[in-house]
Amino acid sequence: MALLEVSDLRTSFFLRSGELRVLDGVSLEIQAGEVLGLVGETGSGKSVTAYSITRLLKQPGRVVGGEVKWDGRDLVRLWESELEQEIRGKEISMIFQSPREALNPVITVGRQLTQVLRIRRGMDRREARAEAIRILKSVYISDPESRLDSYPHELSGGMAQRIMIALALSCQPRLLIADEPTTGLDVTTQHQIVLLLRELRDRTGMAILLITHDLALAAQLCDRVAVLYAGRIAEMGPIGHLFRSPRHPYTAALLASRPRLGLQGDILTIPGNVANLMRPPGGCRFHPRCPNATQVCAQQQPPLEPMDPGQRVACHNPMPQRQELAASG
């Protein structure tokens, strides 16, 4: 059974000008210990998916339909107090982009860590401090004893993200949602954070939902990837398979638009703009920009159907399977 099972999740933002359907039936599942990447353009609903799962959406956003199953419980229908006491931090934790802004500027790192340990794991002051030091060591903070007394503005971006990770892992969650965890960090630091996340996954066996627009990052870290377009899953599958043989035209276009070494000529771009969520195109939301679009695409929403082993695609006219892949099985 999957650790987390999201089915037909619908989230809307209720604005004065109307209902903005940011998520329109997103379904995905995460197995224990798995790293699932959620990729897509800005505005495709990646972060909203994360916030809908943990119920951290801000006004005027609201989950209007669907289920988020965790241990047989539907997080969408749980009381706020149950989420606070039993889910957030303990079962599902989050890290964010711009880590320095995700730490409280007026409280020392040590206090932020020990606070959570004391209320959530019932430790006394000394136990909490010892545990905080242990956790900081596990995310490779050098000299953790003195770091405990630092304020977030005294930290570098990479160190702040390590501490944010330490904070998120302090209650040993089974799922870590990482919302663009490397945005705003330099490339070397990005790499270190990726290595750290991978190692933590191997060591603790927690699952990670990695939200990113960086396909290279997804390739480094993920077991499977789900591609989100305009609030719907376009394609989902094992990372190698999806990168080598994308079946959805959007995934293919996304991969083709990556800058690559030794690339001749211009980078391919996807024509048109991201769908207007206030008045989304009928049928498949990608059809106005799709090279494979036919009549049926404008009329019927394609269901997310299994295509290759482990791969699911929502497309009426998928790309052909690449030959070398078919040959190798």
Partner: protein, 302 residues
């Protein structure tokens, strides 16, 4: 363990050692040195606090020793500030009065801060009808001119020390509530507020342990400035007879006593307590302005 040691180099590379720790106190002194006006303010406030603590010990006379033979004597070596109509030494009374005035001011500012900050925090954090209900009630309080409202409260309660505290506290509450609400509105939208909840803090903890400390700097500055105004208002209430009553050594009362002898030209009776008030207000205002600079990380000296 082997895994950890191997990775200790790669992911942790480039982390520098912690910077040398600068003591909070020595940093405070350093900030003060670059800011003479604040230093002057702090000095005045310290003098007032010391006279409040030690006044009765230091004073050469009993502040309530009536000596009609020495009635309304001008400044001299024996009585540097002169004596009032009852022959009481004015220097002694000015110094001793610091205790009562400071007590009233700190109680009033403290009480209004606690109530105002709590109201503002709830209004800003929970919004909706909390916000509407609390802030409209503050609007009602603010609809009257400050001092007129204080007079009305004092008149309703009858004269006394508690009256002064309640009346001056009541007029200060809306200022705190408004400031706190606006601070809370901006700070609750920050990334760290979201992150704190995401890693497992309850909303209630978020409000008091994470968001409130982020709002304290402006509150401290406002409180210091408010102390200055409150001294004026407390003395004002006593001056018009709605606060502390005549035999008490209190700056406002002493000015009122001096005014009875205004036409006789006994200027020292009202001038010295008046100067005491002026200095106290000046001190708190200078300190408040300076604290604004010192406590704001963007404006401090490096």
């Amino acid at each position: 363990m082997a895994v950890e040691e191997r990775n200790l180099i790669a992911p942790g590379a480039g982390l520098t050692a912690a910077p040398p720790v600068v003591g909070r106190f020595s940093d405070f002194v350093y900030q003060l040195r670059g800011n003479p006006a604040t230093f002057a303010g702090l000095f005045i406030v310290v003098v007032i606090v010391l006279s409040a603590l030690l006044g009765p010990v230091l004073a050469r006379y009993d502040p309530y020793a009536v000596d009609l033979g020495q009635s309304a004597v001008g400044p001299s070596l024996a009585h540097p500030f002169g004596t009032d109509q009852y022959g009481e030494d004015i220097l002694t009374r000015v110094v001793v009065a610091a205790r009562l005035d400071l007590f009233m001011v700190l109680s009033a500012v403290g009480a209004s801060m606690l109530i105002g900050v709590a109201l503002g925090a709830l209004a800003g954090f929970f919004g909706r009808f909390f916000d509407e209900g609390i802030m409209r009630s503050q609007d009602v309080l603010q609809a009257f001119p400050r001092f007129v409202f204080a007079m009305a409260v004092a008149w309703a309660l009858g004269p006394g020390i508690v009256t002064v505290i309640v009346a001056t506290a009541a007029i200060n509450i809306p200022g705190y509530a408004r400031l706190m609400r606006s601070l809370m509105l901006s700070v609750k939208e920050t990334q760290f507020a979201l992150a704190a909840v995401a890693v497992g803090n309850s909303r209630w903890r978020l409000l008091w342990r994470h968001l409130l400390p982020n709002c304290l700097t402006p509150i401290i500055v406002l409180s210091t400035l408010q102390c200055g105004f409150t001294i004026l208002e407390a003395a004002g209430l006593s001056f018009i007879g709605l606060g502390v009553r005549v035999p008490q050594a209190e700056w406002g009362v002493m000015i009122a006593m001096g005014l009875q002898d205004f036409l006789q030209g006994h200027w020292w009776i009202y001038t010295f307590p008046g100067l005491a008030i002026a200095f106290a207000v000046l001190g708190f205002n200078l300190l408040g302005d300076g604290l604004q600079d010192i406590l704001d990380p963007k404006r401090r000296r490096v």
